[in-house]
């Protein structure tokens, strides 16, 4: 007697721990294999782009915290740089160094989260996540010291940063920077050659360089596929051209490569923070910019390298006190462009690992 089979449609998410927020994927299964995948997003849509058209340029800064809430510092930085370029505002030297320092600390914290949850998705339940959280916690403490908030920071201002550092900040940062290389070595010792991690992530979710470029993916995903493209090097913003660091790239474009690219980027970020600490000049931390100013008529697309990838702001000004158009090129959303191609043919368990390796943040996907 012949056995009749038919494709089976299953929902992964929206409330599933491995989807990193309210993200839903409808997969069509043939047995255990995925034959089609469709993502359903918008559960966290807060229409920031519309709201931003009714608030002044300065009032929009807190929105950028709430996009990628695991990397609020880089969200602030990207927006402030875009407005400064549009309005031609000069930023004091000390503020530039502080911005770079905090942006790189934020990158370390975000990558710690990404790598921790990635190993979590691979099956090592919670333990590695809390190892990674140890350093993230210290970084959040530093943020709290500098601006009073831990997650939605609202630290950067147009023309600089909101507050100067307290006296006890530098010793704490120094001790963190001193211990971080050992910690990274510890994580690498635990994870890089772990048999189970290798089996779960090697040759899984392979993204070819051609598709990576064509699908506009960015950040560690693009570099994991072997393309050495980092906005910090290719189009230096702020003062990134003064620092010495390398761009790690992967070879195979699989989940494991994306994981080690993030691991290595943490090490590079430590190098940048060290150089920024040495070069930190005295002086003013905030330029004298009126709270309610009017940039000249015009438009611009400005981008920075956030932990997730290329975070771009397309701003259109009509010369008024509010943006005429505020569009965010969010790396989390666009990195999902190639998700369908990556998961077709895989098993459900591998699709979870692939999604984990993309490192999305649903706050930024839906905005």
């Amino acid at each position: 007697m012949p056995i009749k089979t038919e494709p089976f449609v299953m929902n992964i998410g929206p409330q599933h721990p491995s989807t990193h927020g309210v993200f839903r994927m409808r997969v069509t299964l043939d047995g255990e294999r995925i034959t089609d995948a469709e993502m359903v997003i918008g559960y966290l849509h807060r229409s920031m782009e519309k709201l931003a058209e009714e608030r002044t340029w300065t009032q929009n800064i807190p929105f950028t915290d709430r996009m990628d809430y695991l990397a609020a510092m880089t969200g602030n930085l990207g927006y402030c740089i875009a407005v400064e370029r549009l309005a031609g505002i000069e930023v004091p030297e000390r503020a530039q160094y502080l911005r770079v320092m905090f942006a790189e600390l934020q990158r370390i914290a975000s990558h710690a989260m990404a790598n921790g949850t990635f190993i979590n998705d691979c099956g090592a339940w919670q333990t590695p996540l809390f190892y990674m959280f140890r350093e993230r916690e210290k970084i959040l403490d530093l943020f709290e010291m500098a601006c009073g908030a831990r997650l939605t920071l609202n630290y950067m201002r147009i023309g600089g940063v909101a507050f100067d550092l307290p006296d006890e900040f530098m010793p704490r940062l120094q001790s963190l920077i001193d211990e971080l290389p050992d910690r990274i070595a510890e994580y690498e010792g635990l994870s890089l050659e772990n048999e189970i991690l290798l089996m779960r992530s090697r040759d899984i979710g392979v993204l070819s360089p051609e598709l990576a470029i064509n699908a506009s993916v960015s950040g560690p995903m693009l570099r994991g596929s072997g393309i050495a493209w980092d906005v910090r090097k290719a189009d230096p913003y702020s003062i990134y051209d003064r620092f010495d660091f390398d761009i790690p790239v992967g070879y195979n474009g699989d989940c494991y490569d994306r994981f080690i690219v993030r691991m290595e980027e943490v090490r590079q970020s430590v190098r940048i923070v060290k150089q920024a600490m040495e070069g930190l000049p005295a002086g003013n931390h905030l330029a004298d910019v009126p709270l309610n100013f009017r940039p000249p008529e015009g438009e611009l697309y400005s981008r920075i390298e956030s932990p997730k990838g290329e975070l771009g702001f397309y701003l259109v000004s009509d010369g008024g006190p509010v943006p005429y158009r505020f569009h965010v090129r969010s790396p989390s959303l666009i990195n999902l462009s190639a998700l369908r191609e990556m998961v077709i043919g895989q098993s459900v368990a591998d699709a979870i690992v692939t999604l984990g390796s993309i490192d999305i943040n649903v706050g930024e996907v839906d905005r």
């Binding site: 997003i41 849509h45 064509n214 290719a234 189009d235 697309y301 397309y314 090129r329 959303l333």
Partner: protein, 176 residues
């Protein structure tokens, strides 16, 4: 690799485009080139395949409501030459349509859906043209300037959220 991304000046880009795709350029500024919507796919394919321009990476696709017309903006980068190009297309305000560039840049896939969802521009040729964030049946396209007005008449638009006023949208509000 150059130390910073350079912009290919509009006039220079327009010259290259009009040499390859005749009668496609309709406007040139220092920062961008505006092309005819009907020729967009040909222009896109030329920019993507040309060795010197090499616009293989689509940074972003943005849509702007200019009251009389819609503008779709394409920011393109060449990763090997490290230069960027800006392309613009105009769409009619009543029935906005711009050909889809998904066949050239696959990364436009979600961004065109986003532009359709929030701005209401249709992209014929898109493999899966439906809303991205909002649900099917949501009345209107929120990023349009005439979607909601502000107190004090700062911007023209609806007086109430469409959910409260189904008559204005010619039917019952559906949440499905």
């Amino acid at each position: 690799m150059a130390s910073a991304t350079t912009l290919v000046p509009g006039p220079q880009l327009a010259e290259r485009i009009s040499a390859a795709v005749p009668d496609s350029v309709v406007g040139v500024q220092e920062g961008w080139v505006e092309v005819d919507a009907g020729k967009l796919l040909d222009v896109g394919r030329f920019l993507h395949d040309d060795r010197e321009l090499d616009a293989r990476y689509l940074n972003q696709l943005g849509a702007v409501d200019r009251f009389d017309y819609f503008e779709v903006v394409y920011h393109l980068t060449s990763l090997s030459h490290n230069h960027e190009m800006v392309l613009k297309v105009r769409a009619d305000h009543d029935e906005p349509q711009v050909p889809s560039v998904v066949s050239v840049w696959y990364g436009a896939h979600l961004q065109e859906r986003e532009a359709y969802d929030l701005m209401g521009i249709r992209f014929p040729g898109h493999p899966d043209m439906k809303r991205l964030f909002l649900w099917e049946g949501f009345p209107g396209h929120p990023l349009r300037k005439d979607f909601m007005s502000l107190p004090g008449g700062f911007k023209p638009g609806l007086q109430r959220f469409p959910k409260e006023d189904p008559e204005a949208w010619g039917g019952e509000f559906r949440a499905d």
